[in-house]
């Protein structure tokens, strides 16, 4: 999966690695130059014979400056090429992942929690990006830079000195790998104990009423203490390792240098090496530390990256279950008539039939009402009419076509649903109501000035919020659908509420803006469905949060605007359904009663009892 993305950016990677090689190569010269300078200024024989002239100094300064500038430039280069490509790939995978998720069906979402799906975007994508960015640099440095430094030490200074002085380096290398394998996982333990503690705190504060009622405060304190202590212990475990490892690392580097002093000194007096080589060698020893640590780091990042790729492959492997059949049925619109034909349904992965042999036939322009207790299968009917789940052949048909033969585009633009949870997006009221009819308008990326982002966090976030709101407003203006939105809102009797918001239809809902009451949300959601002006409208318990007067108005309005179009109403209140052409009472997935209001009242069954009960409730409400 990763291959195709890397292939797309292969030029960036090649350029980055070449530059990285150049930087590492240039880096080898600085110690040599300083070493030669010291020797030139000291003289070999201790007789004060300085071999360097002013011109030599200038030459070596120019060399150091040239190497330094080259390295600086190169360090810019590899960051630009490698990190830039990694971020770009990250973005591409993020986009593809989201697109893939939009194709998956409700079943997938019922099996995967939002939080788990989010983890792919946050954790996995991040690990993956580390593996294709920083890990490449650390791996390269570990191998190539390490080899180059050692080669330089051997070629420029001395083989024997290199071999002996670098013995402690082997310990560092082993230590770095041990650290990556043994200590890094302990950080996971810290995360685990931290989340255990958070869970405990969360649970304890959520259950505060029980704790107070049974006077269990002390016991809770003790229980929290355990998690608190565990958290501390896990941190200290890592701290203990770190307080041994890092000073020891410093010590080992020192040891290399100490060997250099003893052995290098001896060799200097034997005139096997020069002062310049001695000084340079000390710096090479320091340069060798990073490749050793990088070896451990890259191991970790790569293994985490591989795990991330595995997980991402899994999600990319999930296939969309509900798709068009592929053959062109030539259906481009629906008239509004539909039929359920002995419809039985059990949710995927379960045996329990939620619907069992339900049949009804609705002609274009008619109203079907479905009633019944919670869990009787009402909502399932609504979901199935939109083909959110698959049904058996011929069980649902529109205008005589089986639901699976109708292109999804046609089906879902012809059926407007007001779902039970009135999910609204954090966008303007206008955009939310026009949700189903809008086309996306692309806004050019706005380049934020440095001066702006340099402001305080609060100011920046305020600015970003404002920018977002401005964009909503601009979008609303360009979409030019305010009139139609107002029309729909009036029909759903939410117009007056909206006008009461601080910025009317431009008010942003949700996290960044106004919170709506349940009833307002419900009616906005109705307006959203009405905007589609679809041949079939389904209201799934969509009037439960409005009072009886408003309900009456909405029903009247619906009768007016839905003239000649099909409406399915799922409801609890008799007042909502009494004028429907068909009323169906579901019980445990079966049709228990069926008829018109008058017929059902006359029948004297469940519907009739409900009718009496609701009459009485009205009396109490009005009585006192």
């Amino acid at each position: 999966m990763l291959g195709k993305y890397i292939k797309r950016h292969i030029a960036g990677y090649i350029a980055g690695v070449l530059v990285l090689f150049g930087v590492d190569y240039l880096g080898l010269f600085i110690p040599q130059l300083t070493g030669e300078l010291i020797e030139g200024l000291g003289g070999q024989n201790g007789l004060g014979a300085i071999t360097f002239t002013r011109d030599d100094i200038i030459r070596s300064i120019i060399s150091i400056l040239a190497v330094g500038s080259g390295m600086a430039l190169g360090r810019f280069g590899w960051r630009f090429f490698l990190f830039g490509s990694a971020r770009k790939i990250e973005m591409e995978i993020r986009n593809d992942l989201f697109e893939h998720l939009t194709t998956l069906s409700d079943r997938y979402y019922s099996e995967h929690k939002t939080g788990d799906l989010m983890a792919y975007f946050t954790n996995d994508l991040n690990s993956l990006r580390s593996a294709i960015g920083p890990a490449i640099i650390t791996a390269f440095d570990a191998v190539v830079m390490g080899a180059m430094v050692i080669a330089k030490m051997i070629l420029y200074v001395d083989l024997k000195l290199t071999l002996i002085a670098c013995i402690p380096m082997l310990v560092i290398l082993g230590g770095a790998i041990w650290y990556a394998v043994k200590v890094e996982p302990m950080y996971k333990e810290i995360n685990d104990t931290f989340s255990d503690m958070s869970d405990k705190v969360q649970e304890s504060f959520s259950g505060i009423r029980v704790i107070k009622a049974f006077v269990r405060e002390d016991a809770e304190n003790r229980a929290f203490d355990v998690t608190n202590k565990n958290k501390m212990a896990s941190v200290l475990k890592v701290a203990k390792a770190n307080s041994v490892v890092w000073p020891t690392l410093e010590f080992l580097i020192g040891l290399c240098k100490l060997i250099t002093v003893f052995l290098g000194g001896y060799m200097y007096y034997r005139q096997t090496i020069t002062l310049a080589q001695f000084v340079a060698f000390n710096q090479y020893v320091s340069m060798l530390v990073w490749p050793m640590i990088a070896a451990g780091d890259s191991l970790n990042m790569i293994s985490q990256g591989r795990a991330a790729v595995r997980r991402l492959n899994e999600i990319f492997g999930a296939t969309a279950e509900i798709t068009d059949t592929g053959k062109d049925s030539g259906i481009t619109e629906l008239s509004g008539g539909f039929a359920l034909n002995n419809l039985s349904f059990a949710y995927p992965g379960t045996d329990m039939k939620v619907l069992d042999g339900v049949s009804v036939s609705v002609k274009p322009g008619e109203t079907l009402a479905i009633m019944g207790r919670t869990g009787c299968g009402k909502t399932t009917v609504a979901s199935l009419l939109l083909r959110l789940f698959e049904t058996g052949d011929g069980q649902i048909s529109f205008d005589g076509h089986d639901i699976k033969d109708i292109p999804l585009d046609v089906l879902r633009s012809s059926v407007a649903l007001v779902p039970q949870d009135n999910f609204l997006f954090s966008d303007s009221v206008q955009a939310n109501i026009a949700f189903g009819t809008r086309k996306f308008i692309e806004f050019p990326d706005e380049k934020l000035s440095m001066a702006l982002i340099n402001k305080s966090e609060d100011e920046l976030n305020k600015y970003l919020d404002r920018q977002m709101n401005d964009r909503c407003a601009k979008n609303d203006e360009l979409q030019n659908d305010l009139e139609a939105v107002e029309e729909a809102a009036k029909t759903a009797v939410v117009h007056d509420n909206i006008m009461g918001f601080p910025k009317g239809y431009s008010t942003v809902i949700g996290e960044r803006g106004v919170t709506m009451s349940g009833g307002q949300k419900q009616r906005s959601s109705i307006a959203r469905a009405l905007m589609k002006n679809a041949p079939i409208l389904i209201l799934d318990d969509s009037l439960s949060a409005v009072d009886t007067d408003t309900e009456e108005k909405i029903i009247d309005n619906l009768n007016r605007v839905r003239q000649g179009k099909t409406t399915v109403i799922i409801a609890h209140r008799i007042s909502t359904v009494r004028n429907a052409d068909h009323i169906m009472i579901l019980e445990n997935g079966r049709v228990a009663e069926y008829g018109t209001h008058d017929e059902l009242v006359a029948l004297g069954g469940r519907y009739a009892r409900l009718y009496e009960k609701q009459q009485l409730e009205k009396m109490i409400e009005e009585a006192v």
Binding site: I64, R75, R87, N95, F205, S206, V261
Partner: protein, 601 residues
């Protein structure tokens, strides 16, 4: 402004107060840190000396001596560095542990009205994340700050002593380094903030759209949303790219500065070495130059750290302020200074004496409610949603204080009693049974060691919960999953009965569950309830009239007042509100006659 400063100082002072018990550890750590710093600074001098010895062709034994000196420095550094790291982490973690403990215990003391108004998530953040930010302060920032200042000062002094001219030359770049680092940190932080804001935005977008995916599907807006997401994603990429560019420019710039510093020292130093060659009394020898070359890059680290620290320090202080705000929160329901107990112990007589109550302002939930329940009597409150029934239950256990009037238990005002004594005498059966992570047995005893296993089994048996518990794979030791969602509503109700029975209270306060319960379990519940009520004063809110017909007295509440009271038969005869509720109930089957929740929630 002044007040603000004082407050900042106060926060910092309070934080230091937590460090006090560990002052010895911290002092040793500080000493160790300074020792490491000092030793670190001697290393370049040793190497300078070695170069000097080489240069003068001093005997090898002198080099060996310096080598041994260096070895000693290495060993001391190893010991001090280990001590410093360990002691700092240890003290820092202990301090944070203590703050967490205090904070958690404090929050538990706060009254329910505090919890009504504060989201749980916020409280969790205070106890977990905000305190975490403090550990950084104690483990790193404070000591690092001292170390860096000392290190810079020491470098300045040593260099001045070695050679003032070259030292001044070395300092020339200092302001530039400081400024560059400061500027870099500022820009990098700003960029980081931007990318974090963008990341938060995209995560918010994602969590919103992943939960709202079905709306997107039913409106067939997948393409539109994909394009919208791409635009957002692009913005995030741009923010990251800017971050990369900032690092790509500044990091090499800082490196280049260090190269310039090196060149500067070489140029000036070589001049002095030439001078020295001409006149040994002037200038410096090559050993000193080598020391300077090694020192000049040592300035970079502490200066960079210091400029980084400012941001972290601000964060830690901000977190500390949030933590202290909660610690300063006082509980509204205070224990009396001189608690009273009823003379004959708590027997269960409950009296409401002209009680008025509002959760906020003047929105009266109870208006002038008075009644008396004698020990052992059972009283049920009924009425439509929002009538104030559940509130009465909360007031008996003094979870809120009444606005006017008083509540007496066996003749003593609840405000004059110790809260714990009062609440221990009251058994609460809540409508939504809250189950804790742990086992079934643990959820009955609520981890009270005084309740023996025998008592747990007996309580479960009496509550009719025994049979279903034994049917679980691990019986009483079965783990409770996801707040008990694997148990049915009826089973949870029975568990809550068992829990109450295990505590054997004198008074039973109960909010009947509204959830659908199958007839068989319903039967078990009714039976268990009768046993539970036996010999106890019972105050119950009933959502099903069928459960309360055997109560001694039924009180009908409406809009905060008691409108009717009497036995089931008497009330039916009155032909008032109760009668209507009863008839609704008749037509509802097993479903409750009201929505089961009070206005307050």
């Amino acid at each position: 402004m002044r007040a603000d400063r004082n407050e900042k100082k106060n926060t910092f002072g309070r934080l230091l107060g937590y460090a006090k018990p560990y002052s010895r550890e911290l002092a040793i750590a500080l000493f160790a840190t300074l020792a490491v710093t000092g030793l670190e600074l001697t290393v370049p001098i040793i190497f300078g000396d070695i170069v000097r010895k080489f240069n003068n062709m001093a005997p090898y034994s002198e080099v060996v001596k310096l080598g041994i000196e260096y070895g000693a420095v290495l060993i001391l550094m190893l010991i001090f560095a280990m001590a410093q790291r360990w002691l700092l982490q240890h003290a820092g973690q202990q301090i944070v542990y203590n703050i967490r403990k205090e904070l958690f215990a404090h929050i538990h003391k706060l009254s329910l009205s505090f919890f009504d108004n504060t989201p749980v998530g916020k409280l969790v953040t205070r106890v977990t994340n905000d305190t975490e930010a403090l550990s950084e302060l104690f483990s790193n920032i404070i000591v690092q700050f001292i170390r860096d200042v000392v290190k810079i000062a020491a470098l300045v002094v040593i260099m001045l002593v070695l050679n003032p001219t070259l030292a001044v030359r070395a300092f020339i770049l200092l302001p530039f380094i400081a400024l560059l680092t400061y500027f870099f940190r500022k820009v990098a932080r700003a960029c980081y903030r931007l990318s974090r804001s963008r990341l938060t935005a995209i995560n918010t977008y994602l969590s919103e759209h992943l939960s709202g995916m079905s709306v997107i599907r039913i409106f067939r807006k997948e393409n539109e949303k994909n394009r919208e997401f791409r635009a957002k994603s692009r913005e995030l990429y741009n923010a990251y790219f800017r971050e990369i560019m900032v690092f790509a420019v500044f990091r090499p710039l800082i490196y280049l500065t260090s190269v310039l510093a090196l060149i500067n020292i070489i140029w000036g130093g070589s001049g002095l070495v030439f001078e020295n060659a001409a006149d040994p009394l002037r200038g410096i020898d090559v050993g000193t130059l080598y020391i300077f070359i090694q020192y000049v890059s040592s300035f970079f680290e502490p200066i960079q750290e210091l400029s980084e620290m400012i941001g972290t320090l601000q964060q830690a202080i901000a977190s500390a302020e949030k933590v202290f705000t909660i610690l300063d929160e006082e509980t509204k329901i205070k224990d009396p200074e001189d608690p009273k107990v009823p003379t004959d112990g708590i027997r269960g007589r409950i009296e409401f004496d002209h009680v008025w109550f509002a959760y906020t302002g003047e929105n009266w939930v109870l208006r002038d409610v008075s009644f008396v329940i004698e020990p052992g009597e059972s009283v049920a409150f009924v009425g439509v949603t929002g009538a104030g029934k559940t509130t009465i239950l909360s007031l008996v256990g003094r979870y809120y204080d009444v606005n006017r009037g008083r509540i007496l238990i066996d003749g003593v005002d609840v405000r004059d009693m110790d809260k714990k004594v009062l609440r221990r005498a009251i058994g609460q059966v809540q409508q939504d049974v809250f189950l804790f992570t742990g086992t079934i047995a643990g959820n009955i005893s609520l981890m009270n060691d005084e309740i023996t296993d025998e008592e747990i089994y007996r309580a479960a048996k009496t509550a009719n919960a025994d049979s279903f518990i034994k049917g679980l794979e691990h019986g009483y030791e079965e783990a409770v999953m996801e707040r008990g969602s694997t148990l049915s509503a009826g089973q949870r109700q029975l568990l809550s009965f068992a829990r109450t029975l295990a505590y054997d209270p004198a008074i039973l306060v109960m909010d009947e569950a509204t959830a659908n319960i199958d007839t068989e379990t319903e039967q078990l519940i009714t039976e268990a309830l009768a046993r539970l009520m036996k010999g106890r004063t019972t105050v119950m809110v009933a959502h099903r009239l069928s459960t309360i017909q055997h109560c001694d007295c039924i009180m009908v509440m409406h809009k905060g007042k008691i409108r009717e009271s009497g036995t089931h038969a008497e009330l039916l005869e009155q032909n008032g509100i109760y009668r209507k509720l009863y008839e609704i109930q008749l037509r509802s089957g097993h479903e409750p006659y009201d929505s089961g929740s009070d206005g307050q929630q």
